[in-house]
């Protein structure tokens, strides 16, 4: 029904590309154009559309406006999305200031931290004590949370978030959170991603040396 996880990310990418195409004055695209811009192949593009019931015009490609309209209704980006950040450390703070969120209609409404020094109620994006998380999330009906605390507190903080009503978490702590199937967890492991790069560079190096 809703395709697979990866296709959603690709759909989001198509949307970004289409917006750019439209600015350039294009009225329609072919799957081939989209594929080129996104770095996939055209079958992938058509398959993704097919999965979500999006259709174009045989020989005529896709009307950009029509396609954007359909993508928006699928991705639900018409409404402003509110999210909170828990943990106002380096990563948390960087994400508070991350421009791309805002420009894509995602509003970071507040951040939370246990450290009294981090509290700043008057900021552009206010930082409140962690104690206030539960009430804030409930009162503002927030569903999305970004978890940027250290590993040690991750599970505890996560449980609090869930009990307050958070339904989806982007987790930066290098820890496998235990949650029910009702909460969607997406893990970003920055250290792991960097270590992957290091590993592949090293293994390429040693392959080279080995073949000498």
């Amino acid at each position: 029904m809703d395709g697979n996880k990866n296709s959603v990310i690709r759909l989001l990418k198509y949307k970004t590309i289409l917006l750019r195409f439209r600015i350039l004055g294009f009225k329609r695209v072919f799957s081939e154009n989209l594929a080129d811009a996104a770095g996939f192949n055209s079958t992938q593009v058509r398959k993704d559309f097919s999965l979500f019931g999006i259709s174009g015009y045989r020989r005529g490609g896709y009307q950009i406006d029509e396609l954007l309209c359909k993508l928006n209704s699928i991705l639900g980006k018409d409404v402003l999305q509110k999210a909170v950040i828990v943990g106002a450390g380096h990563i948390g703070t960087a994400l508070m200031k991350y421009k791309s969120f805002e420009s894509e209609g995602i509003q970071i409404t507040a951040a939370f931290d246990v450290d009294p020094e981090k509290i700043n109620r008057e900021g552009n994006i206010p930082v409140y004590p962690f104690d206030e998380l539960k009430d804030f999330v409930r009162n503002n009906n927030i569903k999305i949370g970004i978890l940027a605390v250290t590993e040690v507190f991750a599970q505890e903080v996560f449980d609090t978030m869930v009990s307050a009503g958070i339904k989806g978490v982007l987790n930066f702590a290098p820890f496998k959170l235990k949650g029910s199937s009702e909460t969607f967890i997406n893990n970003v492991d920055l250290l792991g991603e960097l270590e992957k790069v290091i590993y592949f560079v090293k293994s390429a190096e040693s392959r080279l040396k080995g073949s000498k």
Copy 2:
């Protein structure tokens, strides 16, 4: 030969877990223990080891010290890894201060930016003008780079990094970099990851509403 991409990440995770187990005084583990701690299943663990030629003792599990030794030699984490960050914006700065890198033997030796205001040659991790990137990377024989500039400059900056000798890039710009097969590129799309969370929360919501 070197397994698949995901298995490397898992290997890194096993290592972290083993170090923790060792601190707790354990001498050996079973694949089941590792799987529990990592959130995989025990077949996955054994398969990963098998892929890299790591063997244990039937009925006896794995000697932690021996296993760590093998993992270290495969992952090559014995040597200190040096890396540079290009782009001292919010994300770049957060990564400069990211503790987990250091504790895993990854040293961020310098950052680079075009903005004169960001330059700080005396910092704990110095920030140099972008112009000096090429010489620095060459002189210090750096192979790993973190790309944290805006989309618009991403390709240009990437090309400079590669021509300076960078062999692996962790890319935070939401842009499909074009590079040769000699350079390993790992993309981290923070906006995309958050949008994925939003999408799945929304679709779960509408499923609930639909079934009411």
